[in-house]
Symmetry: C2
DNA sequence: CCTGAAATGCACTCCAC
DNA sequence: GTGGAGTGCATTTCAGG
């Protein structure tokens, strides 16, 4: 895989902000021909730097206004617990992120639900599938910033 | 804005997983003609349900392997503090999420950096711009799940 | 590495049904 | 809602510097 230079970074910055821009405009914006631009994009895709193109949806219009972070502190887990936990959370679409953490909290879950009742249903379903101890939830009152864009 | 029916949801599910699929294939997959499919997508865009199309990048290939959650517990902040905090965090690209929370922690920051040294630089820059008290960081050891896809 | 042009294919529109 | 057909532009390939 080739090293990523400055021009690549500018291309990536544009694409992760908006991938619908025509090649022509993208090229002129970064001072490259449409064609050279295209070749770099293909190379970045082949190298796995660009993972995929997706549509970003608006949570507010889909009745998913409540974001919640669930913190888990574990007791001693039996062998195979992590495997079961991983399968359970991966099978639950409301759960968008699951992270094993340093520090005093062991696992952190990021989820989106319509409202408090929706959180309760999620919680009930989760503890029914995996034994959990010491669960606490924090709800997002205000999203000051929330982006998928990586710092380049 | 029209209500979103089951077929719309299936379209959205496909698009937020992969927006590069040709209309033809997308149509057959959900059992709709290319044409009807296209009309629904345009309607969803007009209604703001589909926000935009973006490229998703691979953090591992861009030397952004470390994800960190920074927890802030506030002391009494002077007026205008939130405004300053918001501007500062929005101007820092490593910071991908900033949330005002319920519960004992007041603000939660999600950020991506290359490594521990990168985190320290971020931390130093942040406290230089905004007065903060009671800052604690938790680092992601393992990403068990991490997706942008909303539950539909 | 790049540019510019040619060929392909798809998005998009309009049509009749 | 379906399918077909036509236009134009984006994407891709190719020839060449």
């Amino acid at each position: 895989m080739n090293t990523i230079d400055d021009i690549d970074r500018r291309i990536l910055r544009e694409l992760q902000r908006d991938s619908a821009t025509p090649l022509e405009e993208l090229g002129t914006r970064i001072g490259l021909s449409r064609n050279a631009c295209w070749r770099r994009i293909k190379a970045l895709e082949a190298a796995g730097v660009i993972d995929r193109r997706v549509a970003l949806l608006n949570p507010g219009t889909l009745d998913l206004g409540l974001m919640v972070y669930i913190q888990l502190r574990t007791s001693a887990h039996e062998p195979g617990w992590l495997e079961k936990f991983s399968r359970a959370t991966n099978a639950m679409p409301e759960i968008m992120g699951v992270y094993r953490m340093t520090g005093d909290l062991d696992y952190l879950i990021r989820a989106r639900v319509p409202d408090m009742a929706g959180y309760d249903r999620l919680y009930q379903r989760l503890i029914a599938r995996v034994p959990l101890s010491d669960v606490s939830a924090s709800f997002v009152m205000e999203e000051i910033k929330d982006t998928h864009e990586l710092p380049l």
